[in-house]
Symmetry: C2
Subunit: 243 residues, 2 copies
């Protein structure tokens, strides 16, 4: 029996989603809780990794078990063993050929930036942008270059990939006073891709580079031209889409 789970987590205390030796991970915590519920170790398969400090409100994973248990019973049982910074939002029985990673058609990330006074309450939950003189229109304008099917080679940490072409369907800005929430939906994202893009839009907003320079950086497909990465704490895996 295959189960699909949607979960939320505060990434602050973890070295990312993926299980690692000698570093806390969200995957390890979920697998430990699951082992207590099911009585034996079961590996989970997520839609993808998230980096150190990155949060999720809608990460999806699947796992298999023979245990006869209701969806709600399973949800309650896993949550009772999880630490308070990880939570299973929903559990759903799915067909055996469902795959959390391969079947994901779109992903939505949100990135939060505080352009105002440093907020100690949000220190782990938004990027506290240190530069106050920023042209908000230029940030938006820069982001427009990234909608469509584009070779994002300049915007990923993982340079060993053969195919660095991805499609971004939408990039929406929502301002709440000095707080900017950027929602990005695409068919796939490479490592650090959102954080590098956001960092480079901010460089445009600060007047460090022109929008036309950023266009060149895309076209030159060379990561060394986009050397900035916005911090992980501002990033949220918001939703994973399936057909």
């Amino acid at each position: 029996m295959r189960f699909k789970c949607e979960c939320s987590y505060d990434g602050t205390s973890y070295n990312g989603f993926q299980r690692q030796k000698n570093a806390p991970s969200i995957q390890e915590e979920i697998e430990k809780a699951l082992e207590k519920v099911l009585g034996s170790f079961v590996k989970i398969t997520a839609s993808g990794r998230t980096d150190s400090g990155v949060h999720a409100v809608g990460q999806v994973f699947h796992f298999d078990t023979d245990l006869k248990i209701s969806e709600n019973g399973l949800k309650r049982a896993i949550n009772s063993y999880l630490p308070s910074d990880i939570h299973i939002n929903s559990v759903e029985k799915v067909s055996d050929d469902f795959h959390a990673r391969f079947d994901a058609t779109k992903k939505e990330y949100h990135y939060f930036i505080n352009f105002g006074e440093y907020d100690p309450i949000k220190r782990n939950y938004v990027y506290q942008y240190p530069y106050k003189k920023v042209n908000r229109d230029l940030i938006y304008e820069a982001s427009r270059l990234f909608i469509g099917t584009i070779d994002f080679r300049s915007f990923t940490k993982n340079q060993s990939l053969d195919n660095t072409i991805r499609t971004i369907y939408s990039i929406d800005f929502k301002w709440d006073n000095d707080l900017l929430e950027i929602a990005i939906i695409g068919n796939g994202f490479m490592q650090n891709m959102v954080r590098i893009m956001v960092a480079m839009w901010l460089e445009v907003g600060r007047g460090k580079i022109a929008t036309s320079d950023l266009k060149d950086i895309i076209e030159k497909r060379n990561r060394t031209l986009a050397p900035k990465t916005a911090p992980g704490c501002g990033l949220y895996l918001y939703k994973v889409y399936y057909e």
Copy 2:
């Protein structure tokens, strides 16, 4: 020279604002930072205490120093020594007779309640209400009883006070899906007063007591009749008003 400071803090790691032996406090952290800036210990005087786990976005305190330093220089210097969960928002030279506590005419508190699915990212920042069947209109209706000049004896932990009459000017509700933000402005609040009131409104919303029962509880002026206290993590000292 007297300085008035407004500060924000994440109360999660502290045993409240007030300095105590053997327990971390916000006051101690600010006085430690101030001592590094000024070269000698200076006591600060705040508008009032906040309890363990309670946050602030606009706490106010004052202190005196002979050091010749600009407001902005002082702000930057203190912030450079503060931990990342406490921040000075503004520093202002004031007249020698300004008093952060005695001159405060009104205070504004906000209380956040999540009535939806448990949110691990907000676990220290809102009250995650565990009961799902709640009548939202009844909560609002119950809160209406508390606007005006009232003897709040049933709603404070501190029963040694002679005068428990306070005035609440407004109680505003703002819903964002399952998240409720309550803004309360009054001329003064006693220990745990907001948290006891909120807890009792929720009892009405859950159908545990009727609005008329709550009216009786106010009139009977007896804390044992209002035994609930909503958690500190949902509470924010939002603003302190001066003439």
